[in-house]
Each structure stands twice: as C-alpha cells, then as structure tokens.
Amino acid sequence: MQFTSGIVEQAVEALSSFPGIGKRTALRLVMYLLKRPEMEVAHLADALLKLKTELHLCEVCGNVSDHKRCHVCVNPNRSEEVICVVEDFSDLMAIESTAQFKGKYHVLGGLISPMDGVGPDDLNIASLLGRLENSLVGEVMMALSATVEGDTTMFYLAKKLKPMGVTITCIARGIAVGGEIEYADEVTLGRSIAQRTEYLL
C-alpha cells in the first residue's frame, strides 16, 4: 500500500493491529472517520482512552468496573454462597444475560496455556482461594470453555479447591437448544448420554 500522507499511514497501521482487521479494512475505517464530524471522532478517542485511564478491575472478583468494586460484588441481593468462575468478563456478561445465576463471580483473566506463556500465577487464582477462606461460599461453579485449555484449568482449580471443603461443580455440556441429534458430534452426544438427567414433568 502506497501512502501519500504520513498521518493516514499512522492511523492505518494503528488500526490494522486490531484482531481481525487487515490493512484494507483499516483504510476503510480511516476514510469513514475522515468524513465524520470532529466531535464524534474526539468522542471515540476519549472512549478509547478511558478504557485505560478510568476503568478498574474489581478488587474482589476481577470483573471490569467503573468503580473499585463491580456492581455484582456490591449488590446485596446476590448470594454469597455460590461463586461462578469464568475466563473473562465477556463470559460473565453472557451468563448475566441468561438471568439464571444469582451468585457472585470470579474472573480468571484467561486460561492456563503454557504454549502462550500463561501459567497459574498469571491468572486470578490466588485471589479466588483467598475469597474462600472464612467465607459463606459453599459452591464454586466453573463455567469455562470446553477446550483442552479450559478442561486443564478446571482440573487444576478443582485440585486446589478440594481441600477447602467447597462443592465444586461445572456447567453441563450437551446438545444445543434447537439442535438436532443427528448433527451433534460424537463426543458431545456421548457426554450428554453419560450425564443424562431425570426428566421432570
């Protein structure tokens, strides 16, 4: 790509470092921004900057928050007895939108993956163990991805949580709602059969 302006080039370079955005898409975004009013662009720049300057990670659970503690942790109506462990705050948002979970969260900030240089010490694991000491928590529910990394992280956590005397659960895996059995993969289907539940009328 041949640039006639250093400023445009700089903006394209910066945008194309985003995941899923190549040079061509970055150029389209730059051309779009050039046509927008200055106020709108300033607002965008401000919103981006605030992510770094004003956003907090909740000191209790690691969730993103505008304050020192997130809205779930300060909510007196949420149960203290169950903690749901998630990989990232986007997973927390997904679970919140089900409106099925009334307990509190713990955000790990990733999964154990030595290939990517991520070990247990790089994640919010120590703070989770700390939260359980002298607490009302009776259950830790693990809601992690069904990948090799998710499974090994769950196994490691379970090993560390077991001596603390809490019930350890993991969310069920099986056929998607609206999914047809003949199109389900063998591993998922096999697991669904092994972990079948009583049909309640």
Partner: protein, 356 residues
C-alpha cells in the same frame, strides 16, 4: 463411491487442472515433473484434508500464489461435491456447498490407500512414520480415534510447553496432572484401537506378504508401546520427576512404534530391498482390506510409479490381488504409457487413460 471429476487451482505445480475419472482403472502418464504424483496427492487431500507428503498447507500453494483449492465430484450411492480451500492460513471444507463446522467432520467420508516409492520410510524411517501409517488407517474410519488423537496432541503440546518453560525447575504436581487427566483417557483409547488394528490386519498381512515374496520366511509386526507395560496413569505419575528434568513427556502413545521382523530378524537391518518392498505393499494391502472390511466399500487406491520403483513383478501381483475382491477405483501413474497398458490389458474393468 468413486471420484468422477477432480479440479485443482494452484495445488502444487497445477495452476489449473481438470480431470475426469472412471470407476475402474485410471492411468496417468507423462514425463517426470509434470505433476502426476501431485494429482494422486490431491485425491488423498480430498479424503484426509491433508497432504500425504507435506503437513504444512501453506507449502502446497503453488509458488507466488495466495491460495489453493481442490474440488472433487464423487459419484455412487451418495453423490457429493467436496471443495477444500486454503487461503490466509485458513482451511475450509464444503460438502455440496455447505461448510463443515469442523474439519474433523469431513474425514471418514472417503477412504484412500496410497502406495508410493516414498513409503520406504515406513521401514527405514523413524517411529513417527510408522505411527502415521497406523493413524492414517484408523482416522479414516474411526471418529472417536480421530477426536481422541486430536485431544491427546493438544494436551501433549501444552504439557511439553510447560515442562520446557520451567527449564527443569520444580512444577506443581497439580498443574502437571491437569494435563495427565486429559492424556490418560485419550491415550488409553488410542492404545486399545492401535492394538486391535494390528491384531486385525496381521493374518491378512502375512498371507499377502508370503504371496508377494514367494518366500518361506514369516513376517511379523509387533506393537511396541509404553502402555503395554502398565497402567498409563501410574506410568505418567511415576515419571513426573524424569519429565521435569528432561523437559518433555517421556511416556505415552506418542512413543509407540511398530517393530517389523522377518523370521527372527529385524527387517530394517537384515531385510533385502525386495523383502522390504514386499513388506510395505503387504502393509498397504492390509490397510486396503481393513477399510473394505469395516466400510463394506472399496477405498480409492492410489498407485504412484509402482512399476518403475517397486518392480514389475511385484506390481503385477499387487494388481491381481487388489482385483481378487473386485476392483474399486484405481489411479495409477507411470512414465511409460505402454507399460501400464500391458499390465492392465487382461483386466476386465472400465479404463481411462490421461497423458499429461
């Protein structure tokens, strides 16, 4: 099921190529370097979603191009068009214009058996080449095997990365065993299936070998695995310290090997050229027979330059043997048109000839 039409774009040295095949014997002739073997490899690619020779997809793209596609029209009980595309590091497979959610879902639809001069590595190469033969045999017909092998490889890669980054320092046993927990069930299943596979092919293999070599020596295949010596969970737990020091996982099905022998002697050391060639062909025909027994269909047989490199007499016997159960589709390459014609003259099957 047979391949009726093959279309290639930027696949190795084929910028653009379209070929029709019949359900019987298809011969491909042409000078060295025109890309005959690459056409067979493209058929293998359609079945297995990878090259027989090169595991790195980006290297299959023709020089200076950015993508390749392989398209195959299969006819038979369930006609289907398979399209595999590789671009920008991403592979997609479509069946009748519909993309599979996962690549694994495609494998198993078509079985291929490839016989090429490079197979000499099966005997002379390292254990990885022999594991690849077993994996290729099982993955094409057994989804559970394929899934577990993929899980095992991922967990092993992570476990080895962990051992490597710790550079011999102490590792929390809870962390190491979280990988063991993934390796154990997958490893046990793979070990079991590999053992059954070898047991299954052994009788047929022995008959074929003796028929090919017209010799009296008894060939043997022994499945060598660390898992033969005990419970995988115990083996892994017992080697934690050794693994930390060695910075890699020292026991598991990734250490499996096949030990080939003739009478009392190891084939690799004492086998003659001819004996080794017969051994390899017998292995491949056992694979063909295994696919047939399991799927009740003929796999597609890909014969690469067998008259030149393997010798004419063995090649002729091979063809006779394949035909004993009725011929499925065969694709065969040779540099000499007249030679293949002579060999296939007596055979009563549909024939098609392409000169590239």
């Amino acid at each position: 099921m047979y391949l009726q039409r093959l279309q290639l774009f930027n696949f190795k040295n084929h910028s653009q190529r379209s070929l029709e095949f019949c359900d019987g014997i298809n011969t491909l002739t042409g000078a060295n370097g025109v890309g005959k073997t690459n056409i067979l490899d493209a058929v293998h690619y359609l079945a297995n979603a990878k090259s027989y020779f090169n595991g790195i997809d980006s290297q299959i793209i023709e020089h200076d191009k950015t993508f390749f596609t392989v398209k195959g029209q299969f006819e038979g009980e369930l006609p289907a068009e398979i399209l595999i595309q590789f671009e920008g590091g991403k592979k997609t497979i479509k069946k009748n214009d519909k993309a599979y959610p996962r690549l694994l879902d495609h494998i198993g639809m078509i079985q291929t058996v490839f016989i090429t001069p490079y197979d000499i590595d099966l005997v002379l190469g390292n254990s990885e080449d022999r594991r690849r033969f077993v994996d290729l045999s099982l993955c094409q017909i057994d989804k559970a095997y394929l899934q577990n092998l993929s899980t095992y490889k991922k967990a092993l890669e992570q476990r080895n990365a962990l051992l490597k980054t710790m550079q011999g320092r102490y590792i929390d046993p809870d962390l190491l065993s979280s990988y063991d927990a993934k390796l154990i069930p997958a490893g046990i299943l793979i070990h079991q299936r590999r053992k059954e596979f070898i047991e299954h092919i052994l009788t047929f293999f022995t008959t074929v070998y003796q028929n090919l070599s017209s010799g009296s020596e008894t060939p043997s295949i022994q499945y060598d695995s660390p898992l033969n010596n005990g419970d995988f969970a115990t083996l892994l737990a017992d080697t934690h310290r050794i693994d930390m020091a060695a910075q890699r996982t020292s026991v598991g099905i990734h250490k499996d090997d096949l030990i080939f022998g003739l009478g009392e002697f190891p084939l690799k050391k004492y086998g003659s050229q001819g004996q080794i060639k017969s051994f390899i062909i017998a292995l491949k025909l056992a694979q063909y027979n295994y696919f047939q027994a399991v799927t009740k269909n003929h796999p597609i047989l890909l014969l690469d330059d067998i008259f030149e490199k393997i010798d004419e007499e063995r090649a002729q016997r091979l063809i006779d043997m394949v035909g004993a159960s009725g011929y499925g589709q065969i694709l065969i390459t040779d540099t000499h048109s007249s030679r293949v014609e002579t060999h296939f003259q007596p055979i009563d099957a549909n024939k098609l000839h392409h000169h590239l």
